[in-house]
Symmetry: C2
Subunit: 367 residues, 2 copies
Amino acid sequence: MGDPGVKPLRVELGERSYPIRFAADGLRGLPEAVGRVLPPGPLAIVTNARVGRLYLPPVRDGLRARGFAPLVVTVPDGERAKTLRVAESVIGRMLAAGLDRTSAVVALGGGVVGDLAGFVAAIFLRGVPYVQAPTTLLAQVDSSVGGKTGVNHARGKNLIGAFYQPVLVYADLSTLRTLAPRELRAGMAEVIKYGVIRDERLFARLEREMPRLLAADAAALAPIVRRCCEIKAEVVAADEREGGLRAMLNFGHTFGHAIEVLTRYRRYKHGEAVAMGMGIAARISRRLGHCDTATVQRIERLVSRAGLPVKPPRFRRDAWRRAVMADKKRRADKIHFVAVTRIGQVRIEKIALADLVAALDREGESR
Amino acid sequence: MGDPGVKPLRVELGERSYPIRFAADGLRGLPEAVGRVLPPGPLAIVTNARVGRLYLPPVRDGLRARGFAPLVVTVPDGERAKTLRVAESVIGRMLAAGLDRTSAVVALGGGVVGDLAGFVAAIFLRGVPYVQAPTTLLAQVDSSVGGKTGVNHARGKNLIGAFYQPVLVYADLSTLRTLAPRELRAGMAEVIKYGVIRDERLFARLEREMPRLLAADAAALAPIVRRCCEIKAEVVAADEREGGLRAMLNFGHTFGHAIEVLTRYRRYKHGEAVAMGMGIAARISRRLGHCDTATVQRIERLVSRAGLPVKPPRFRRDAWRRAVMADKKRRADKIHFVAVTRIGQVRIEKIALADLVAALDREGESR
C-alpha cells in the first residue's frame, strides 16, 4: 500500500507554516516530497544505524536522483545521542563536507534523531531548513510536530534546545511495522492522550481498533496518526511557545516525568511513564471533583488494552512528592494541573499545592 | 553626564520588536531599564572579568534592589569564550542555580559576551529573554543589534548560532571611556561603514568630529552611535535573516574576513580587517566603474584619520584569491559584491567571478 488514503495536513504558523504528509511505502516517496519544499542542493541525512539499514538506500538514492547531494551522518542509538557534543560533531561533519547556508537537514528516525537533527538544523550557520521523517509512532504523533528540538544536559533531559519548525513532516506508517512492539505500545500512550484531551470519537475508535493498531496495520493507523497530528497542529498553531493552550499536551506528563526520574529513565519507556501518569492524573481529577469514576475507568481500561501500565510502582512518599513538585517549584503555592473533565476534554486548573499533595498521598494509599 | 541626550530607538520586528536605549552613567540606569521589559525574577548576568570588575557592582546591586535574583557567570576574555563548551558550562551554572523558563539573561560586555550570552539565551530551555548591554563601540553599533548570536566551531567563526532577538539593547556611551584606544578605533570601522553604505551626512560628521570621537567623548558619540543603530535597525527590520538588503551590512567584510583568515585572526582586530576590506571594496568599485576616485579617496582618508589601516599586507596571490572566494564557492560563477556608488549609497551587484578575480589581481599590483 503506497497511499495510506489520508490527506496531508498543514500546521498553520504564518510564514513558518508547513505540511504534514502521510505515506506507507517504506519512505520511497520521501525524496519527491522533499523536492516539493526544497530546491535541489546539499543536504545532510541524520539517522541511526538501525533505521539507516532499513530505510536509507531508497531515501538517499531518491534524493540523488532528484539532484540533491546527500551526506549521511549516522548518530548513536538512543538518548545518549542527544548531547551538545554529538550535535557539534554532526555540525563538524556537515562543515567538512562543505555544506553551507543553502543546505538542509533530513531527520530520518525516531524522536531522538528528530530532536537532535532539528536542533542541529536550528543552529547550523544560524539555521537551515529541515525535514522530519519520523519512523516511530511516538515521533509521528508527537515529537516531529510542533518544532520542539533539543538535546539533554547532564542535569536533565531536553534542557538545551530551540523552537524551530521543520519545512515538512513526512510520516510513513509502514515504518511502524519494523518498530519493536514495546515501542509501538509506548507511542500509543500519546495517541490515547489526544483522545482524552481533545477527541471523544478518537478515543472511542481506539477502544474499538486497539488490536489492529497494535498489529501496526497501516490502514488502521493512518487516520489515527493523522488525527493526532491534527490535534497537535491545532494546539501548536494556537500557542507555539507553550504560553497556555499547549500545556494541555502535558496531560499526565508531570507524573510521568517524575516516574522517569525516580526510575532513572531505565525501567520505563517515556510512553509507559506517560501511561501511568495519565492514570494518576485521571484519578486525581476525580478526587478533586473534575470528572466521574466512569471516565477514570475508561481511561485505565484503554491504557491497559494498549498493553501499557496504569499504576506506578510504590515510591517513598517524600521522594515521590519531591519528584512531582520539581518542575513546579517556581510557581509558588499554586500550580497548574491539567484535569480531565470528561473523555475529550481537559481544563487547566490552578490548584493549591497542598490540595495536590493531599491527592497525591491518597493516590499512594490506594495502590 | 547621566543622560546622553538622545532618544531611544525601536527595532521593528513585529512581536519581536525591542527598544535600544542610550545612556552615559556607568550602567547605573541598566537595572531600571531591565525592570521595564522584564518582570522581577531569576536572571543570569554573563560577563567577563575585566568588564565585571568595572561595571558589575551597580548592575548586580541595582537588579537586586528591583527584585531580580541575579546569578553572575564570568566567562573567559576574547574569542576563546565563544565555544559550545563554554555555552554548555554557562547553562550548567544556570541550571545548578535553579534558573528556569521564567529566567532571563543579561549580556554585559563586548561582542564576544553578547554573541555567547545571546546564544545561551536562545537555547536555554528552548529560549529565554535576554538583554544586550554592550560595552564596546563595535558591540554598540553592530553585534548587539540584529539578533545574530552564536559561537565558533573548530572550522571557523560564528558557524554555530541562532537568529534570536534581545528584548532590550542598553548602550551606555560612558563605558567606551574604559575601552582600549585600539578597540575604540576598531569599532570606528563599522561606524564609517554605516556612513558609506547609507548616510552621507553621518559620513561628513565623522570627517568633522573624528578627534572628539576617538577621545571617547560621550556627547559626541551618542548621536553617532544612535544613528548607526538606527541604520542597522532599519536594515534588519527589512530583512531579518539576511535574504537581501541585510547583505549591504557586509560592505568590505568579504575582504576583511579573508584578511583575518590569512593572518589567523591574530594580527588584526575585526574592525581593522574591515577597514582594509572597505578600502579594497571601494577601489574595486571604482575599477568596475561604480564610483569615482574622489569617493575612494574620501573613504581612505576617513579610515586613516580613525587610525585604521587602509591597505592590507601583501599576500601570495593564490592564497589571497582562495581566501576571498571561500565564502562564495556555492554561488557558482556569479558572486554578489557590495559596490559603493557614492558616499551614502551601495548597490549589490552580481558580478562574474572572473571580473572580481581580475580586479583583485590589479588591487594586488597597486599595492
